[in-house]
Symmetry: C2
């Protein structure tokens, strides 16, 4: 359809769903980059490793893992902007001035692919299916930000934590016999950082949720027993 | 460059900045739709008029005015997701289930253009400059959501209100001799709705900001005298 697209027909099936086989060989972004000989870098982050970014010229794609995105206002304070997981991207935030920068902190073992943003834009104009994939991805990014807004719109820390657990259970949970188990371990300190609180408060609230049997811990992972009952806990605040 | 794009060369200058002349004749979206004979509808909303949307099949473009986007969870509560102004869009949020819907409430006289989302996607594939414009717009949408997160990440209502006034001054303000005047009048009730509070609290906090001369009111509009001093008020909470 466009003369610049060398193998458009080849790149259509890349964006079909494929959850079997080796993870990296079926990641839609990497499949597309590899088939079209597009250069990218891979960063492997351990838990608590932090990636600083203050330029909108690169796009970071989370291949696997989870990161907290934070805006750091120089000499003042930090604001947690989002919790991103496998398939999410960051880096395409505008830069206003020198008064702040962004950082991404891994909350689990995380692999990130990094690519120049101009390369992505060029790929969009050269390959219509990739362009559609990218447009849909950007719409999904806004939706993801709105999910985070639903968590922190609560003023009460108990409501924020219950909302976060519900979102994690929905997006990063696996059904087990007595509820939904989170796919990763998460420290009280990280939970506090996400919801803008402190470790002590989070430990106290989790102890209460455990006592009232709304959650339990198994193999160091949180299990949400009943999303309905937990969501009622939010409204009762 | 692509055989489907009838007048690609013509549509390039549409996306250049043009702030002179009649507003609607130089709106980039309308210019593009009109030149390419793309159908759209215009809705004129008065203050407090509400537009319900529970489908992601249409894109709404704010031609002029301001709206609050709210997620309404059936039988339970509402969450304000964002404050959108001239040039912003909404509607492209995913629909998960029947437990909620979205509404957009005008906080000022507002004109909205509405177009089928499939038409936008088709236009993207037919016209490369429009596609680039739309991709940049979607990136901007995420950034806008992050601005809102910065406001409601505060647990204190005073900090949320001060953050909101700073954002409004930056994005919807005009420099006057003694500070930055907001471009529209806004009621205490609407301010409360945006930050998840009530009218009484907002009135009390605004009275305090007036008393300490951080803001003043002129022609029913709020003037922020010093963004620096007001931002310090946030940190002191």
């Amino acid at each position: 359809m466009t003369k610049n697209c060398l193998n458009q027909e080849n790149c259509i099936p890349i964006f079909s769903e494929n959850s079997s086989g080796d993870f990296f060989s079926c990641n839609p972004w990497l499949l597309f980059f590899n088939r079209n000989k597009i250069n990218y870098q891979i960063f492997s982050l351990k838990k608590n490793d932090t990636l600083l970014f203050n330029s909108s010229s690169r796009l970071y794609i989370i291949l696997i893992g989870s990161l907290i995105i934070t805006k750091v206002l120089r000499n003042t304070h930090k604001v947690t902007l989002n919790l991103l997981t496998t398939g999410d991207t960051f880096g395409q935030i505008e830069l206003v001035d020198d008064n702040f920068y962004y950082e991404a902190e891994a909350i689990d073992k995380t692999e990130v692919a990094c690519i120049n943003y101009t390369t992505i834009i060029k790929a969009c104009s050269n390959c219509a299916p990739f362009n559609l994939f990218f447009v849909n991805h950007l719409v999904f990014c806004s939706a993801k930000a709105y999910h985070f807004i639903e968590i922190i719109s609560h003023k009460s820390i108990t409501s924020r934590l219950a909302s976060l657990l519900l979102l994690l259970a929905e997006q990063n949970g696996t059904q087990v016999n007595n509820g939904i188990m989170l796919n990763f371990t998460i420290t009280h300190k990280i939970l506090a950082q996400i919801i803008g609180s402190n470790r002590v408060s989070v430990t106290r609230i989790l102890a209460n949720l455990l006592k009232t049997k709304l959650i339990s811990i198994q193999k160091k992972r949180i299990i949400v027993h009943s999303p309905v009952l937990l969501s009622q806990r939010i409204l009762n605040q």
